[in-house]
Symmetry: C2
Subunit: 330 residues, 2 copies
């Protein structure tokens, strides 16, 4: 049994706790919110015996083995280090850090202390992502990939009226790249590794937040383009083009339908596991629990993917002139 | 009646002549091919009373009013100027020239002589393109567009075996950008005008030809990405994202289905004209004939679009380090 605490009590924590019910070794022990009423209420709602308004107190609690952190990106590193120093494993929401340097500190600290730190990037642990990866050789020499994660955020309605919520504050290391681009980035680095070079463009909103962005990455035989945005809806058609056929992917975050159309017109539908909406989050929780229990070092490959993603996002931000206050911190 | 000659006798000339049958004022007068047997045969096939193997002789022929040029890109300028100097109007296949400087010479020469020069860019004259343009305001503030024209060229099979046909010779100002990218480029410049800036990437094949390319253009509120390639098949899903909904376009060159999906989920299908395959080429021929007959200066806007496209392609080529011998000519 792994005894969890959750830090942050928004909708994504709801989803994760709901999905975690199917993980037999997941036990919710504690809840943290800065507001006492919220902490009490959320603990009661999810049946957590303990609640905290102080991170120090949570860190000191001997009944917590692991912490899930779902706060705004700019405090991921600080909170993670605090928990690692207290001897707790950490599952941290994407984007795992504001930049690659922060992530390196987090990984180094976890290693030093024999603990697990892992980015909660849902697709990376989804078995249907592995199915896509396995099918790639059937496409022949790869020539182009297109990964898209664009939507109209409900919070953008407020934004346009001058009500700026956390997700629309660039100083919190938020925005389209950090919030949705990270899905497309991790999808790419998981399949193809580190690109040779990238070009990045963004359209910024009035407060400097990137509303939409595009990154094109060059690999040896192929160009990969990442689309992400928070201010317009999209069909989000994703495609991988090889010389022998192209694959279309519906649902980048949680692939729900994948087909290959071969050059001769033959269409093959990939047999996917039928994973109900949001149930996919249980895979990331289970992977994290397995890493803690088995200690087989399997977090290293996922952490390397996160590192490459953040490094590439750093390069993209430099090109798009998107600087975060976190970039100036030690 | 406008009496035409065609220079170049490949499949695109076939398509054009077939489509031109529905243009009442189109009359095929002459055919040019460098090989006499081919010129004779092609003239007989299409019922042209005259055939030429010499461009000088064709230029001197008083029975020809206008010339359609469908030779490799690198000789478009030279042939066009030759015909303009002889007092003939010119419809020239895309890409109209190897670069913007060449195109400017062509337009200047036509103007000086009171003649029409026009790029045979099919989509620009397709009434369904105008339908798309008219519907754009319904999408709200535009945020992203994706235009795609990727296919697996049959000539690429030969190319891989070392048989390099004209379309795969970069020194002829050919390649993915010049052959297919130009469609996506003109689609963009026709709808949105000149971009503020662009970034361009390409994957080159062993002889330096661009096999696939990607261009991302920045406009005031929007990013536009152009996909083109000759070495892999694609679903070629095109999309225009606005804050209020997104439009999907099937068939970039000859739009066959266009839908708008609004943010509330409502789907609207645009009523398009039902234009049989390749019949769309008749619109470019008819537009050219109208320009000759009416002399209303309506070629200027199309030529400006071609100029912006070529200028932007020049910028893209510089970034992709794709230099043509034509770039060094006067």
């Amino acid at each position: 049994m792994v005894r969890f605490a959750v830090v942050g009590t928004n909708f994504i924590t709801d989803y994760l706790l709901e999905a975690a019910k199917s993980c037999p070794d997941f036990q919710l022990m504690a809840v943290h919110s800065r507001k006492e009423a919220r902490a009490r209420e959320y603990a009661a709602q999810w049946g957590a015996p303990l609640w905290f308004t102080s991170l120090e107190a949570l860190a000191a609690c001997p009944e917590v083995d692991a912490v899930y952190i779902a706060t705004p990106n700019f405090c991921h590193k600080e909170y993670t280090l605090q928990m690692l120093h207290a001897g707790k494993h950490v599952l941290v929401e994407k984007s795992a850090a504001a930049n690659a340097r922060e992530w390196q500190q987090m990984v180094d600290t976890a290693k030093e202390r024999g603990l697990i730190v892992l980015e909660a990037l849902r697709t990376a642990f989804n078995p249907n992502y592995a199915r896509i990866q396995e099918a790639l050789p059937r496409l022949g020499t790869l020539r182009r990939s297109i990964f898209s994660c664009c939507s109209y955020s409900r919070r953008y309605d407020n934004f346009k009226q001058g009500i700026i919520e956390n997700a629309f504050i660039p100083e919190m290391a938020n925005g389209a790249l950090m919030d949705l681009g990270v899905y497309t980035m991790n999808f790419m680095t998981g399949l193809f590794g580190k690109p040779k070079e990238i070009t990045a463009s963004a359209i910024k909103l009035y407060n400097g937040l990137d509303g939409v962005g595009t990154i094109t990455a060059s690999y040896e035989t192929m160009l990969v383009t990442l689309f992400y945005g928070k201010v317009a809806p999209s069909g989000n058609r994703c495609e991988i083009q090889g010389e022998d056929g192209y694959m279309t992917i519906e649902g980048l975050n949680a692939p729900s339908r994948v087909t290959i159309t071969y050059r001769d017109g033959r269409v093959e539908e990939l047999p996917l596991e039928d994973i109900p909406f949001r149930k996919d989050l249980s895979y990331e929780v289970q992977a994290f629990i397995d890493m803690i229990q088995k200690g087989d070092g399997s977090e290293a490959s996922f952490n390397e993917r996160t590192r490459i993603s953040l490094e590439t996002m750093d390069t993209a931000r430099a090109q798009m002139q998107m600087h975060f206050p976190n970039d100036d911190l030690g």
